[in-house]
């Protein structure tokens, strides 16, 4: 995939998303601007930049795009798992899950090291709760 073209397409898509969305709110006149006016103006500028980037990408050399799906997916899943477990069970379990799942992204995998890291982080969380007064639902 051409990185420059992908960037142009992404910017254009974001601009269209916000720009067309702005029409759902009253635009108003310039002297009495409605809530839709400013996002419309800004996304028009962004649309201009997006289209320019697309055109420019056709004029200059292609650049391959690097994208690795695995690591970012593991990290996002470990964050969501943390939030879910903290909400429905408790935060200590959430922290343990966060450590054990996130470590998948950086092999070699070692259960012993994970346990140590998780224990230290739980201890820090306890410290935050007791000493700094953060309201963490640890248990």
């Amino acid at each position: 995939m051409n990185q420059n073209l992908a960037r142009g397409v992404a910017l254009t898509a974001i601009a269209l998303g916000f720009g067309l969305g702005a029409f759902r709110y009253p635009i108003g006149q310039f002297e009495r601007a409605g809530p839709g006016l400013f996002p419309l103006v800004v996304s028009s500028f962004l649309l201009l930049i997006g289209i320019t980037t697309v055109i420019r990408s056709l004029l200059i050399e292609r650049q391959p795009m690097q994208f690795q799906f695995k690591n970012i997916a593991i990290i996002l899943l470990s964050l969501c798992g943390f939030a879910l477990l903290s909400e429905f069970v408790n935060m200590i379990l959430g922290i343990v899950f966060l450590v054990f799942f996130a470590m998948l992204a950086d092999p070699p995998y070692s259960i012993k090291r994970n346990l140590v890291v998780a224990a230290v982080l739980v201890a820090i969380a306890l410290g935050f709760q007791q000493l700094l007064g953060l309201q963490l639902p640890l248990f």
């Binding site: 990185q3 992908a6 960037r7 910017l11 974001i14 916000f18 969305g21 709110y25 009253p26 310039f30 002297e31 009495r32 601007a33 809530p35 839709g36 006016l37 400013f38 996002p39 103006v41 800004v42 996304s43 500028f45 962004l46 930049i49 997006g50 320019t52 980037t53 420019r56 004029l59 200059i60 690097q66 994208f67 690591n71 970012i72 990290i75 996002l76 470990s78 964050l79 969501c80 943390f82 939030a83 903290s86 909400e87 922290i95 966060l98 996130a102 470590m103 992204a105 950086d106 090291r113 890291v117 230290v120 982080l121 969380a125 935050f128 700094l132 007064g133 953060l134 309201q135 963490l136």
Partner: protein, 502 residues
């Protein structure tokens, strides 16, 4: 002597035991973060923002400022000893690392420490003298001028930090649009919330910062998987007298360059370092040695770095417009603490302003003491493997986001911005301008709508007012110049097909 009187007043507030403690914590955490890979000052400040809720205003801001300039210093230590280029210390890698290769690490670190101290001291004098004066200028600004100034800031930041005007501007505008999410203050209409109740107050600044700078950065580091070899060399700190004498002129030059460039829109430590290095290469007595590991090559840029880190507070505190992404985040911190930075801040909260200025000098002393004699202990930080570090950073991101509203839904928003930030990185879009746009966005809309209201819907107000007219003319010049450069380069490429674009 007004300044002396004011500074004495500031020291009175900064030298309380409590504020000294916060300053020290800020410097230590900042240095630590600067040394470690994968956490910049932006991510750290947003991580610690929730922790400052229970701290008094002055102490909280002193601590956050300490993190910022401490991180700038820590960056240069890792650059000198191991050639780990953080975004903000590329220049320190050149001569500093060359000195390490020659076995003179200690001298390089000493030079960086002393020069930073000199740079910081000069910058504080500039800050104390200039900020109140500039605050009076700011009172002449109308809403149209503020709108134009913010737009001008976007252009400068895009141009300076990302090198590509188009990409940087795009990120600024995306940031502004993200800032539109939530309730419109003028009409009460909910914008872009998709019916989700937790979006009614808008997206949290901490979620955006941690997602784009913390989580995206971790994923990128894991993709790259670089092995770092810890520094094992010996460190002999004390220089000889002739060596010491070489530090001073270069450090003073760097301080002046850094102080000046720190004030300009889009300015800040990075550009100041490059400028100071280039200046030393032109005028220094030892210019032939620069690039091969000379004292001047380290001293000038280190002084400029620290000076610019401090003078970049001037536009924020006197005009009320942050000039780069870190300052935008500082502004968010000010507002969370109930202080509106701007022309009225100095007169309205003198103890805060002068206390902060004085604390910056105290922080200077802390950094010198912390870093020059104790630097070898700091370097042991690098023995922590990334496998231990990154789950810890993730944990702090989770706790940081959660504690703002004690709300777990914010963690999902942070994760979403982590994905967005990662995509931006892979598309070579720098997320720093996004941060600036995100924080300035609501202010820009307010001023834009107000200036149109005052002019009864006529856009000519932006051109006819002298301040905004000048700023818009500068923007037009910048665009014209960029277009010229681009077309010159593409036509050249057609003629000489061998030439490969960088």
């Amino acid at each position: 002597m007004d300044i002396l009187h004011n500074l004495a007043f500031g020291f009175e507030h900064a030298l309380t035991l409590q504020n000294l403690l916060f300053c020290a914590i800020g410097c230590v955490v900042g240095t630590l973060v600067g040394l470690l890979p994968g956490l910049g000052p932006l991510a750290t400040i947003s991580l610690l923002l929730p922790l400052t809720y229970s701290i008094p205003v002055t102490g909280a801001l002193i601590m956050l400022a300490g993190i910022y300039y401490g991180a700038q210093y820590g960056d240069s230590v890792s650059a000198i000893t191991m050639k780990i280029p953080h975004a903000s210390s590329i220049v320190a890698c050149i001569d500093g690392y060359q000195m390490t290769l020659k076995g003179r690490t200690g001298l390089a670190l000493f030079t960086a420490g002393v020069s930073s101290f000199i740079g910081g001291t000069v910058a504080i004098v500039v800050l104390a003298a200039l900020a109140p004066a500039l605050g009076e200028v700011a009172l002449m600004f109308g809403p149209a001028d503020y709108t134009a100034l913010m737009l001008f800031g976007f252009f400068c930041v895009s141009f300076v930090t990302t090198g590509s005007l188009l990409n940087g501007l795009a990120m600024c505008f995306i940031g502004v649009l993200l800032g539109q999410i939530g309730t419109d203050v003028n009409s009460g209409v909910l914008r872009y919330t998709f019916g989700l109740p937790f979006l009614a107050d808008g997206v949290g600044v901490v979620s955006v910062a941690l997602g784009c700078f913390g989580i995206a950065e971790i994923a990128k580091n894991l993709d790259g998987h670089e092995d770092r070899s810890p520094f094992k060399g010996k460190i002999k700190l004390m220089p000889t007298w002739p060596e010491f004498k070489r530090i001073i002129p270069s450090a003073l030059r760097g301080s002046v360059v850094g102080s000046a460039l720190g004030i300009l829109p889009g300015g800040g430590p990075v550009i100041a370092q490059f400028a100071a290095y280039a200046l030393d290469k032109k005028v220094s007595k030892y210019k032939d040695e620069i690039g091969k590991g000379s004292i001047e090559g380290v001293a000038g840029q280190a002084a400029a770095d620290e000076a610019a880190a401090r003078t970049s507070f001037i536009p924020l505190m006197s005009i009320g417009i942050p000039e780069n992404a870190v300052m935008a985040l500082m502004m968010a911190a000010f507002i969370i603490k109930g202080i509106q930075p701007g022309p009225n801040m100095i007169s309205g909260h003198p103890e805060l302003f002068w206390g902060l200025v004085a604390s910056m000098w105290i922080g200077n002393v802390f950094l010198l003491v912390l870093n020059v004699p104790l630097v070898r202990y700091w370097l042991s930080v690098f023995k922590i493997p990334y496998q231990v570090l990154f789950p810890a950073i993730l944990f702090f991101c989770c706790i940081g986001t959660y504690s703002i509203n004690n709300n777990l839904e914010d963690v999902y928003i942070t994760a979403a911005f982590g994905l967005a930030g990662y995509l931006f990185l892979r598309l070579e879009l720098d997320p720093a301008p996004l941060m600036l746009g995100f924080i300035l966005g609501p202010m820009m809309e307010e001023n834009f709508r107000r200036s149109l209201l005052l002019s009864r819907g006529s856009f000519s107000t932006f051109v006819t007012r002298p301040i905004s007219g000048t700023l818009l003319a500068l923007i037009a010049l910048l665009i014209a110049w960029q277009l010229l450069v681009f077309f010159k380069r593409t036509t050249k490429d057609v003629k000489v097909p061998v030439a490969v674009e960088q």
